[in-house]
Structures are given as structure tokens and as C-alpha cells.
Amino acid sequence: MEQKVKEPRYHIVKRADINGKEAWIIRVVAILSALLLCAIITMVCTGDNPISIFATIFKGAFGTQRKTWITLQYVAVLLIISLALTPAFKMQFWNVGGEGQVLMGGLAAATCMITLADKLPNAVVILLMVVTSILAGAIWGVIPALFKAMWNTNETLSTLMMNYIATQLVAYFTIVWEVPKGSGKIGIINQNSNVGWLPNVGNKYLLSIIVATVVTIGMMIYLKYTKHGYEIEVVGESQNTARYVGISVEKVIIRTMLLSGAICGLAGLLLVGGINHTITTTISDGQGFTGVMVSWLAKFNPIAMIFTSLLIIFMGRGASEISTAFELNQSFADILTGIILFFIIGCEFFIRYKIVARKDLGKENA
């Protein structure tokens, strides 16, 4: 008897190469199966018609003109934050501190609005807000970068911990500036004078959308066609290669995190000066983390990021519409979003690997 080969029934093989068409088929199948699973879970749990649930999700994001604008504005903000994180991720610097960088930018803007409102003309206040919030975000981003460059500290930990410091700083100033006393809320800043409110361009939603467009195009050019962008890519591929060809890795890390933080600060400026007109610890609403997902899903491609951020906002907006229309708990909508994201992220596995079934060696193994 020859020796029995103990080969598992299935095993995983890395795909050597996959063409675009095949990858997209996998993605479409993933989304369809996600929707199917959502439909089944919806029917089993609530007895509601899944088709009407999906229709409601769509209506929640694009049902009225206002809803469409709001959706686009949300997409814009998430997109800016995702774009901000992208160069850092591309050079394999795990910046999970977007949340804190956004908050610091927002806090700087709010500080200008509150303390300078009756001292300087509106235009000067706005100018200062722009400068300080971008600067604040950049500083918050560069601190972990300096530590990384100088002492090779773990940037995942330090950027993450910088988030908590930023949150607590905002919490502290919320108490300092709270109105009325003891309420723990700042409320709309300069509600009647509108000092420091970023100007409306066309309507109140358009400004963020324009900024996002500019940042997207700028980031695409920066990453693809500039020397900086190339350096980021080389550092991301291999720091040793970068050193070998004479790129100063430390310099690239610091420079890139300055940029990353600055754009996060810009998002904070928009959130505080252009959208909410207040500052709270939850103003960035976890988007510093969601942005990581948006960026990864799009494979760091700024144009693809438009679609991934749209997908996430679309699901979120649709989800809250479900809870209104069907009087379901918000958690149900979160379950649906979770399922869809799970499939979308999961399908990347099948794009990179394939499962190979064992070829039966003989009848006895069947």
C-alpha cells in the first residue's frame, strides 16, 4: 500500500493574479449576497417586506432634495477625513488619530469664534479660524510622527491615545464655555451675530462639497504625480529601499503627518465653522475611524473613495430612515449596515485568495 496523503478537503491558495473583471464579479456577488442575507434577517426578525426596507434606505438618502444635499454634505466630510488619512496609510503609518486631529481643528475654530467674536471683524475671525484649525490638526498629527521618526515609537498606539487627550481637552473647554451654567453644552456659537460662521456658497451644504472636491483632486495629484507622492509610496513599500535610494524616511513621515493632520483640521473647521457651529466631544462622530475603512476599501484611490464614503453614508442615512418609517429600533438598521460591510470587507479576502477543493485521490476518500 502506498502512503495515505492527508490532504485537507479544502485549502486556501493565494491568487497569483486576478484581473479586474473577476474582482468585480466577486464584489457584486458579495453585495448581492449581503442584500439577500439582510432580506432574510429582516423577514425573520420583523416580518417587514425587505423590498420596501431597501426602498426606504434609498429614500432616506435621496428621498427629497434636502435629504440629497445632506447626504452629499456628509459624504464630503467623511471623504475629507478619509483623504487626510490616506497618505499616512499609504506609507504604512497607521494614523488612527483622525478623530483627535479633527477635534483639535474644531476646537481651534470654536476658540476663535468664542473668544474673538466681539474683538475682531468677521472676515479676520474666519481667516484666523482657517489658519489655526489647520495648524492645530497638523500639530496634533505631527506629534506622534516626531516620536516615530526620532524614537521609532509605535504610531498606532500614540495616534490612538492622542484622540483621548483631544476629547478630554474639548470636554474641558465645553465646561469652561458652557451656556447656561452647569448644562455641559456650548450650544450654537454666535447664533444671532453669526460671527465666524463660514459663508454660504449657494446653499449651506455646498461649501463642504466644494472643499471635498478640491481636496480629492489635490490628493489624487499629490499621490500620483508628485515627488512627495512617490516618496510616500516607496516608504510604504519598504523603508530600507527608501533609505537606499536616498529618501529621508523621517522627513517623509513628518511631512506626511503634517499634511494628514492639517486636512483633518480642515474637516474640523468645516464641522464647527460651517456645519454645526458648536463644538462637542462627539462632533466628529467616529469618522476618524470610519475614514480608515473608507480609505482601505478604496485601496487608497481618492476617486474610489468618493464611492466608498458614499456607500457608508448612504447606508447610515438609510438606516436611520428605516427606524423612522418602520418604527424599528436604530439597532436594526445598524445590523443591516454591519452585514453589508462585513460582506464587502470579507470579499476582499476572496479577491486575494481562493479556496481550492481537494481533488479526490480515490473512491475511499469520497
Binding site: 423577514m43 417586506n49 434636502r66 435629504k67 452647569g182 447664533q191
Partner: protein, 419 residues
Amino acid sequence: MKKIKKVLSAVLAATMVMSLVACSNETGTEKEAETASEATETEGAEQTAASDVKVGFIFLHDENSTYDLNFINGATEACKAAGVEYMFKTNIPEGQECYEAACELADAGCDIVFADSFGHEDYMIEAAKEYPEVQFCHATGTKAHTENLSNYHNAFATIYEGRYLAGIAAGMKLNEMIANGEITEDQTKIGYVGAYTYAEVISGYTSFFLGARSVCPSATMEVTFTGSWYDETAEKEGANKLIEDGCVLLSQHADSMGAPTACEKAGVPDVSYNGSTASACPNTFIVSSRIDWAPYFAYIIDSVANGKAIDTDWVGTLETGSVVLTDLGDAAAEGTADAIAEAEKAMNAGTLHVFDTTTFTVNGETLTSYMADVDTDADYTADTEVITDGYFAESGSEFRSAPYFDLQIDGISLLDTAY
């Protein structure tokens, strides 16, 4: 080939199940719609005008928060009773989202938009400016009387009266514990878990304390603050800290079950807020006070249906049915119900005032005059004389509906005032 067949049949089966459920569900909703319209018709016989009013509600959280659940119940009850259409938006944060939600509700044809959380106020005002024909009503807010918007309104209730009555129940319990020899008179220390050092909280614990002290003169109180309206862990920790500090009875002004469950675990009697906690805490629950918002919702629906103006500051009272106590728990002392009923009668008759200046002192002195910060501004300017006829006039509809009692009276010590 076999595999494909298998997959196909599975997909087919799934589709069939789906369509089946879809069909049965459609008939289900139709039925519901029918019964709903029937209900509207029968209601409509009495209240024809109300039926075409549509109300939109904005809630900070959903039914998992006792605070929002209290509003959701009131809203459902009032809208069903009036036979009007309504829309709920839950989990709306206190930011621009609130403005967007209010505008979306107005776009959807709501005649009244209501928001339940303090931080929603500024955003409701922004929406009210944009939709002058829609009525915007906001609970717990402070700005309606200074904004000069005819379609923006605040509402609150004299919950300090409810707290006072709940305080009487607490005092009775302390007396019972003394009589049973469980504690001595100098151990009658009450603990209180508050959210922020905000006037609403201060007014709440002070009235609760005054109620307790009116029956148990030796009572003192310690207050701790969590810095959040809803933080189960912090509330539980706060309660445990107070119990370790020697507090023999607890109450709270924060929205989670943190404090009541900590009390149940430690066997310390508890007066809860926003609804009965008897089912989760059967051994320690005494009573709970809450605001019933249904009368206010009925009032605003009726006002809009009949084209009447809504009060800028509406104050619900014991008499409007806005301030209510739950049934007494098993932990309540004997005779509590009678003592509460008596005090309630005196309050309604106007002979008993919660903040009677003869019953408390501030820094050892009796108050004769006090300027409160009634008009909200960033500098907390004290602007209104609120001592009238020997009592502190809290939540007067002539001033504003939300509480503004922010004095630190003797007998209450604050453990931390960071928030």
C-alpha cells in the same frame, strides 16, 4: 451540474419564502392601516379638527433610555388619543443633525415639531426661523421667552413638586429606619447621583432634600455628579461611592439604571426618577417621580388644530397631570401614601411652597432676595428677582418654564463640582 442544481433550488426556495412573507406582510400592514383609519374616524367624531394635524418628534436616544422612553410613551398616548398622524426620529444627536431632522419633519408636512433634549434647543430655533408656519416645541429649553419667535415654544413641568413629594417618601423611610433601630438620627444621610451642576439638577435635589427634611428634620445630603445625562457605569460608581460614604438612602437625576441597580445590590432604599424601577429593584424601590408629557402634547395638538397660540413657556403641574408619582414600592414606609396625599393637597391649595424661604438657609442666612439667571446668556447674568411672598418662585410661567434654582442650601454637601 449537480452543484448548480442544488444552488438553484436553494435560491428558488429562498425567493419563494421571501415572496410569501412579503405577501402576508402586505396584508398585515393593510389591516393595520385599516384599523388605524377606523380609530381616526371614531376619534374624529369628537375631534374632527385634530385629525389633519401631523406631529413630528425628535428624540435624543430611543426607548432604551428611560428619559426618552418617557417622552415616547407620552407622545404615542397623546397622538393616539387625538387621532393625529405622527412621526418619530430617534437617536438624533444635539448638533446640526437636530436641525436637519426638524427640517425634514417640516418638509414631510408636520404642523408641530417637538424635540426632547436640552441640547436640541439652538438647532430647533434655527429650524423655527426657517419654517415660520410650523410650530416648534421644545422640552427643558430656556430661550423661548427671549428669542421673540412666535412659532418657538418651551415647556417644562413643576417636577420639583414631584421631587418634594418623593422626598417625603424618603423622609418617611428614614424615620422608619430610625424607629427600627437600623440607624441613629445622626446617620440620616441621603445620597444623590446628579448629572451636571445644572439648575435643573440643583432644583431637583434641593426640592427632594427639602421634602425629606420636612418629615425627618435630622436629614443631610451628599451629592455627586457624573458629567453625563446617561452613563450607566459612572452612575453606578457614584452610587457605590455614596453608599460607602455612609448614605443610607439614595436618589438620582441621571437617566440610566446605574444608581437603582447599585442600590438593589447593596440593599439601600432608592427613590428613582423617570419611572418605576420596581421590577428591576423589588427590594429597594420606594417611589419615582416623573413628568408625564401627554398633557402637553394634547395641549399643543389641540392648540394647532383650533388655531390657538401655544404658550411661549408652558408649565405642567400636579393639577394638569404633568407631574406624577409612580405606585409606591414595597420598600416604602407605612403611612407614606397619606403623607404624600396631604402635602399634595396643600400644594394644590397654595399653602405649601416647595422653596419656602423659612425652610432653608444659604450660608446660614434666610433668603429675602435673589436674582436668578433666567435669561440665558454666556456670562450667566443674574437678571430676575425670584423671591416672592416668602418663597422662591421656581418655574413660573411668567419667567420661564425650565428650572433656575441654583442655590447651594445648607445641609447639602457637594462631593465634586467639576461638571
